[in-house]
Structure formats: C-alpha cells, structure tokens
C-alpha cells in the first residue's frame, strides 16, 4: 500500500492499494494502484471485498461473473502479533437464501501465506471468469513490483491440500502456499471446499499442519475457477519491532487478552479446546446433532482424558506468541511423540467428534485429518453429517446413504471420503439442501444456509444476524454462557453494538485472539497503525468503519433474497426444546419475537445507502 496521508479516515483516497485483476479465460491481467474509497477499504479484508461484491448482482455462485477476491488486511505481514490473515471472498456456493441466490461470503485463515502475499507488494488479487485448464498462480516479488503468473497445474490434480503444498514447496522452497483439496476440485458436488494455508511448522516438519479458510465454500469457488493453488514468493519483510508495537504484543500475550488461549504449560487455558470443559458444565456441548443429553459423554474428549493416550504439543503460526494450535500425535510405547494426527481446535473436534457420536480421540483426529486433507470446512461437513446421522436414527427402517448412525466410525469415515471426492453431493452440498430434499428441515443445524459452529443455538440467538458464520461474525456465542446475560436489553445491545465488532478482525489482518473482547477499535490497534504506517486514526473512526462493514453484509443478505423470516435458528430449538441445557431459556418464541423486533428497529434504518458506496 502507498500512504500519501496520515489521516486514513478523512483522506482515504490518498491511500492506494495494489490490486491485480486476472481474467482467467483470456489470461489478461491488470495491475493497478487503486485509491481507497473509505476507511473500510484501507483496513481491508471483507471490509473492502464486500463493497466490490455489492456492485455485482450474482444469481449463481458458479458463474463467470462471480469473482474470487484474495486480499489481506492492513496489519497482515506487519510486526503486530497475529498479523497473518488472508481473506477469500466471493458469492458462496453453500450459503444462500431460500430464493435461491448465493450470499456474499468471506473466509479467512492464518499460517504464513498472507504475510508472504503482502510482502510480494500485492494487496489484492481478483480472479475473473474461469480457466479452461487447471492452473496454479505464482505471485512474486520482483524489482519491478509484484508479478502474477498462471502455471499449468495438471500434476497437482487429485492431490490432498497437504500434498499439493508439499509438491509446490519442492519448486518454490522460499514461498508459502494456499491450496484446495480434492473437495474444491469437485466443486460441482462439494460446496464446502476450504482453502488450506501453509504454516512454517508444516513446511519444516512436512506434517499436515495447515491452517484453513474454511467457511462458505471459498475453496469450491477456487476449484470452479480451476485454480488449484496460490504460491506467494517473497523475502521476509518484517520491520524492526518498534517500542510501541513491542508493548502491544506484550500486552496481547501477557495482558490477559489471549491468556485463555495460550498453552497450559504457560499458565493459559490451552487453546479453544478448553471450551469443552466450560460448556460441559452447562450441558451445552453439542452431542449427536446438537442434542446435549445431560450426561458425561462429552468428557471423553476432555484434554485431561486425551493426554493420557496421545501426545499434545502447542504450536503457533510464524512469530505468534499466542500459540493456539494443539497438535495431537500418537504416543509411542516409550512415551515419545509418534505419528502426527491432527490439530484439536474446538469446532472441528466437536463437530467431527462428540456431535457425531465419536468419543474416541484417535478416531476424531483421523476424521479431522481426513476433512483437512480433502480440504473441506470441518464445520459444514460435521454439521451436515450429523444431520444425516440424525435422519437415519429417526428412520431406522428407511435409512439413507450408507445407513451410518451416530458413532459408526467406519461408515462416517466412508461418507467423508465420498464427500471429499465429490461422489456424495448429498453431504457435499450442505445441510440446507439435504434437509430440503428429505423434507425434514427442522433439525438441520444451519442458519441462512451456513452450518452453525459448535455452540448450541439455544445459547446464541445472535446466530441469526451473523453474516459469515456464527463464531466469525457475531461474537454473542458466549453472552449467555460466559456472561450470564439472559435479559432482552443485554441481547439487543450485544447483537447491535458490542458483539458485532468481532468482524473487525476480518478486515485488518489480525486473529480475533488479539483482543477478542474488544475487537479492533482499541488503543492497541491505534498504536500499531501509528507505529507501522504513521497513520492517525481514532478508535471511534475504526469502530464506525467496522459497523458499516457489518451492516453492509446484512444489506447484501437482504439484497440476495433473504427474508427476515430466514434470520432464524433451526426450528428444533423451538419445536422440541432441549431440557438438558442448564442455562436460562432465551429462545422462547416470545423472547425471539421481541428480540427480532428490537434488533431490526436498530439495524434497518442504518442499512439505507450502504450498498451504493
């Protein structure tokens, strides 16, 4: 980016970002410096991409006019801790309205690809149309600025995410990679393809320790465009750490913001996996398709039980002191580390473990590994499989697919392979389409067509207003459980004010663990922007830009045909309330009706004009 001002809010057009647009059909490309339209453009990520998506009326995700936008955030590649994020945006194959229109979506992941991409000198890469032949794309730093090249990729076809990255690493040893798996290649039948992003640990240890931009099928959109991988080739360009950023980073690591995510060995909570223990206290760990049973079954996947048999190692992305990854390996007879299996983050572990009746850590790890290798979103995959298992449990005389039921490891394993290979559109196209085809929609756990993460909907009516998945774009998932808030005022305030700010992290290039409670409208971010780019921006201006971006997402949903009735939780929550969850009931029809009314009263007037910016 080029900064010709120090005031990004008032003079955003004096900040220019480097964008390359490639027409995959003609192979023509346009490299340009583009002036920012507003502070959202400066911050980047979905704050910028959604403005571009809003300019296009797309009726089908798999059409030439639907772009795939790859970009970074302002602090990606900076010395601010967690500044590793890459964003993939486009109209989603999986998330869509009942009117049949695709929703705009973004997905993001860490790893080192984002920083390398930024260090090539490019800020955004837009893919138009689709390539006739499979290609991979090399983005490289040169003396003349960033260069982008398409290369034939036949040899990568059919390889897993990890194997594609390993194959490319041989040719580009100094690069980092973003790759789809077989799921994305089979985009016709798999709408939940993810993009894997390489990590330093993966490239050094040759183990499949990618991070994923999983949500919304951006890997399937990439597959549709016939792009199998991206290669970002540049030298590392970290600035020397300034005193100001050093202070911020220390605060992130030691100041409490990320303490609960840090490894247990450092006195932290032990990554997102720790959510198991906490939620179980309320019998709110999803079990067998989001129906907690009020028993101790989730405890089998508690860390204290898993570590007896498996080796657990905390690792981090490049330079990150938060170290949130829990990597699980076999334990050899002598207690040493054996074969690497998978990483245990809360969402994949639950949705490919307890929530499908798998309570053995080794089995759950194998399923997570399979999902990662085929390059599927573990949340959408797990929640669609749990729907299918629930259907079979309800129809023992008339099961479908391979008749798998909860806990049937072998059959579930088979379903994942078939879905990953594009042979099982029933699973690959997600729970909304599957439940509609079976005419039993009430226990399909998606909201607006996107499967929910591993927080019971009974604890989070805020899901209805999440614009890109319930744990990425609406931070209300802990409002009842963590904060004990069960009154209407707190929920209205949570949804319409505080908790929507979580999306700021999907603009600026940082992980949400940087400061999950406060978002990016903080002095820490202000200090980083001043130190890294000499920008003067106020907390209020940042918060306003985040809010506008969130609301633009809502406005886009409405434009893509969502009715207000679709902003709702899965029907089973109301039709068959779960009495086992030990928390106040905040999903009674009366509560929800009042909540909807008050939330829309606040949001609706603000949506005006947002899509015309």
């Amino acid at each position: 980016m080029r900064f010709l001002t120090t005031d990004p809010a008032a003079e955003s057009s004096n900040i220019l970002y480097k964008r390359c647009t490639i027409d995959l059909r003609t192979v023509e490309q346009r490299m340009e410096e583009t002036p920012c339209r507003n502070l959202e453009d400066v911050l980047g990520g979905f704050g910028r991409s959604f403005q571009d998506l809003a300019r296009r009326q797309i009726n089908n995700a798999y059409c030439d006019e639907n772009p795939l936008i790859v970009n970074t955030g302002l602090l990606t590649g900076s010395s601010a801790m967690t500044g590793m994020r890459t964003y993939f945006s486009g109209y989603s194959p999986i998330k869509g309205s009942k009117a049949g229109l695709p929703a705009a979506m973004w997905s993001t992941g860490s790893g080192k690809f984002g920083a390398k991409f930024k260090w090539t000198g490019l800020d955004e890469l837009i893919f138009e149309n689709r390539s006739e032949q499979p290609v991979y794309v090399v983005i490289k730093e040169t003396d003349a600025g960033p260069q982008v090249e398409l290369k034939p990729a036949e040899r990568l076809l059919g390889l897993s995410t990890h194997d594609k990255i390993m194959a490319l690493q041989k040719d580009y040893p100094d690069a980092h990679f973003a790759a789809i798996g077989q799921a994305g290649e089979n985009w016709q039948n798999n709408f939940m393809g993810a993009v894997a992003l390489s990590t330093e640990n993966q490239l050094k240890e040759k183990e499949d320790k990618c991070r994923f931009a999983g949500r919304g099928g951006m890997g399937s959109l990439m597959g549709y465009k016939n792009i199998l991988a991206l290669v970002a080739q540049s030298s590392d360009k970290l600035k020397p750490l300034s005193e100001a950023v050093k202070k911020v980073n220390l605060n992130v690591v030691k100041g409490g913001g990320s303490a609960r995510i840090q490894p247990i060995s450092r006195g932290g909570g032990g990554g997102t996996w720790a959510a198991y223990d906490v939620l179980q206290e309320f019998h709110a760990v999803p079990v067998n398709n989001f129906r907690p049973q009020g028993n101790a079954i989730p405890e089998k996947l508690f860390r204290e039980n898993v570590e007896k048999e498996y080796d657990i190692k905390s690792q981090a992305c490049y330079r990150c002191g938060i170290t949130c990854h829990n990597n699980i390996s076999e334990k050899n007879a002598d207690g040493s580390k054996g074969e690497f299996l998978a990483k245990f983050d809360y969402e994949p572990l639950n949705l490919l473990g307890t929530n499908i009746g798998i309570h053995d850590a080794g089995q759950a790890a194998r399923l997570i590994q399979l999902s990662d290798n085929y390059g599927m979103d573990a949340i959408s995959l797990g929640a669609t499989i749990s729907y299918a298992l629930s259907y079979n449990e309800r129809h023992p005389q008339k099961t479908f697919l391979n008749g798998a039921t909860f806990g049937d490891y072998e059959k579930i394993h088979e379903l994942i392979i078939q879905a990953g290979e594009g042979k099982l559109p029933e699973i690959g196209q997600g729970s909304m389409r599957l439940s509609q085809s079976l005419n039993e929609t009430c226990y399909a756990y998606h909201v607006k067509g996107l499967e929910i993460p591993a927080y019971q909907p009974e604890t989070n009516p805020g899901y209805a207003w999440a614009i890109a998945g319930g744990h990425m774009s609406m931070g209300t998932y802990g409002l009842l459980t963590r904060e004990g808030k069960s009154d209407l005022d707190s929920w209205v305030k949570g949804i319409t004010e505080d908790k929507l700010h979580i999306v700021g992290f999907d603009m600026i290039g940082l992980c949400k663990f940087f400061d999950i409670a406060k978002g990016i409208g903080t002095q820490m971010v202000v200090d980083c922007l001043k130190s890294e780019f000499d920008l003067d921006v106020s907390i209020d201006n940042i918060r306003a830009a985040v809010r506008r971006s969130f609301l633009r997402g809502l406005a886009l949903e409405l434009r893509q045909g969502y009715t207000k009735a679709e902003f709702c939780l899965p029907a089973e929550v109301f039709e068959n309330p779960n009495q086992n969850i030990k928390l106040p009931n905040i999903t009674s029809p009366e509560f929800i009706e009042k909540l909807e009314k008050r939330v829309w009263e606040i949001f609706e007037p603000e949506l005006e004009g947002l899509l015309n910016a």
């Binding site: 932290g268 997102t272 906490v278 204290e304 744990h471 802990g478």
Partner: protein
C-alpha cells in the same frame, strides 16, 4: 466459618482438585477463594454460585456450591 463446595473446571484442576468441600471465614467472598487457590485471574472466566452466574465480589453462605471456570473462547 462456613463450608463451600468448590468445583474447579478445566486447567484449574491441574495440581489442585476437581471438587472439594473447603472451609472459609463466614465473610469470605468469591475473590478470597480465588486468591486462596491461586487461580490465574486472566484465565478465570465464569463464576457460578449454585449454578447461577456470579462475580468475584459476591459473598457466599454456608453450604453454597461454587464453580470456577476458565474463560470461554472458541473459534
């Protein structure tokens, strides 16, 4: 003195206990127990007294069940 049933969750159990009946002065508040058990404050996320959300300043009475949970942050 009063007896409190203290339940620890997650990493708080390491080197401590899962559940124990402990005795404290009758004016003890939650934070006294948190101090006494040397729980890391920045990891402490949820306090329940008899199953209901409570705060560090809340007082306790004989026979109360106190659960101390780490912060919840998934993703």
């Amino acid at each position: 003195m009063m007896k409190i049933n203290v339940k620890l969750v997650g990493m708080f159990r390491i080197g401590r206990f899962n559940e124990k009946r402990l005795e404290y002065p009758s004016d003890a508040r939650v934070f006294d127990i948190v101090e006494d058990l040397q729980l890391p404050k920045d990891v402490l996320g949820i306090i329940l007294i008899n199953g209901l959300h409570a705060g560090e300043q809340d007082s306790l009475k004989d026979g109360d069940a106190l659960s101390l949970l780490p912060m919840l942050d998934g993703g």
